[in-house]
């Protein structure tokens, strides 16, 4: 592309998107109000590239929109049946890998994994369930941990390390044995430096890290993804920031 008007723009599914040099494809798309499915991306944290849901086709080659920089004139394919089919399979793999029993999860309605599955019309997890039996950690006075719901996006790892400066969480193990571990002598959350005021305590996109005593406080119908599918909440996705004020105080009024 040589024309000046396209110097700082590219196209997604034929639509022109202006960008600021340095922005990733995903950042530029969200800023322009264009939705690209994603789970491990958060506007306040460095890109990660683990969920692969934001996979797009850039000039004919697959790439993660969250890590790939926007370049002048590139042509990005995003909302195609083929890509969405693959995204649905990725979601199904995440669902069978953990115990995602939404009917009994406090995060239901506010969960990005669930909202993505709704949006991509995932009717079934399809694959054989792993039914993991990872212990639930309730040792912390204000926060509890159910790693059977963890999708290993490492948002908590990044928030704790980069925003809170505490490095409470880390990914350990390899392959199917990978799991989040807690940085404390006993490995328990209660013995770590995590505080309910930490941003890491509120960044989890699923129901793995939850504040205690506030479950089911929001009526059905008023939860984040009740009113509109996640794909129509681009503004929320682009501007959301991790609460610094504990959720507890906001909700227990």
């Amino acid at each position: 592309m040589s024309d000046i008007s396209s110097a700082n723009s590219f196209s997604i599914d034929g639509q022109r998107i202006a960008f600021t040099p340095g922005q990733t494809i995903l950042e530029a798309a969200l800023a322009a109000g264009v939705y690209i499915p994603h789970l491990c991306h958060h506007p306040e944290l460095t890109p990660h590239g683990s969920c692969k849901l934001c996979t797009v086709v850039v000039n004919g080659r697959n790439g993660s929109a969250c890590t790939q920089k926007a370049m002048p004139g590139i042509e990005v394919e995003n909302n195609s049946p083929a890509l969405n089919d693959r995204r649905r399979v990725l979601l199904q793999m995440l669902f069978v890998e953990g115990n995602h029993f939404c009917p009994g999860c406090e995060k239901s309605g506010n969960c990005q994994l669930q909202a993505l599955a709704y949006d991509l019309e995932m009717l079934t997890p399809h694959f054989r369930h792993a039914f993991p039996a990872r212990p639930v950690d309730t040792t912390h006075p204000d926060v509890w941990l159910d790693l059977n719901r963890c999708v290993m996006c490492e948002l908590c790892v990044r928030a704790s390390r980069d925003l809170d400066g505490k490095s409470v969480f880390m990914l350990a193990g390899r392959g199917a044995e990978s799991r989040i571990v807690v940085n404390s002598p006993s490995g328990l959350l209660g013995d770590s430096e995590l505080s309910i005021d930490d941003r890491a305590a509120h960044v989890c996109p699923v129901g793995a890290i939850l504040p205690k005593r506030v479950g089911y406080a929001v009526p059905i119908g008023q939860r984040q993804f009740d009113a509109a599918p996640i794909s129509r909440q681009v503004d929320y996705l682009a501007r959301r920031h991790i609460p610094i004020v504990p959720v507890t105080e906001e909700l227990v009024k």
Partner: protein, 183 residues
């Protein structure tokens, strides 16, 4: 597109395996539309009829609940063998549901815990009339092939209605926002 509705009524079987009957209640939540539906479908074996086994080949089997014991397996296989289309109705049938939270426990120890008598012994029912529990609770698609999934705990009456009307009018069923829910 303009083909008339099939003159023959659709034959529908329903069953609850390791279910709570909530999905059947949600089905009844279509309220007066049940009368409309009754004109278009016949019910075969179902908790709402007195038919004990599939009396003839059914078009659709709506299956609620996961598979938790031996009898569930028999019922599910009978429905599969006698139905053109098996539908997983509700979260339990789709992924095991909340009953599958027992899957990280030992089933023997669960029975010991529940049937323990005051003197500390465990009188676990052992009459052969009673079906044995499986080691785990399974989604129905891990036992038989499933043609369609209606998630939700339970799927709403409107969701079930959308599915049935899509089917009756020959459309590929489509469940999307706001009818698609897992909770």
């Amino acid at each position: 597109m303009n083909a008339p509705l099939t003159p023959r009524k659709l034959r529908v079987a329903t069953a609850s395996l390791s279910g709570c009957f909530g999905c059947h209640m949600s089905f009844l939540d279509i309220d007066e539309r049940l009368l409309e539906l009754a004109a278009l479908v016949d019910f075969d074996r179902s908790p709402i009829t007195d038919i004990k086994h599939c009396s003839q080949r059914c078009d659709v089997a709506l299956v609620e609940g996961g598979v938790c014991n031996a009898e569930n397996v028999h019922v599910l296989r009978e429905l599969r063998a006698n139905s053109k289309m098996v539908v997983a109705l509700g979260a339990c049938a789709v992924n095991g549901g909340l009953p599958a939270q027992r899957n990280h426990l030992d089933v023997g120890q669960c029975l010991q815990q529940v049937y323990r008598t005051p003197d500390g012994s465990a009188a676990i029912p052992n009459d052969p009339e009673l079906p044995l529990l499986l080691d785990k609770v399974y989604p129905i698609n891990e036992i038989v092939r499933v043609d369609y999934f209606l998630p939700g705990c339970p799927p709403s009456g409107d969701t079930i209605w959308k599915f049935m009307t899509d089917l009756l009018t020959g459309r590929t069923p489509r469940i999307e926002h706001p009818l698609l829910k897992f909770d």
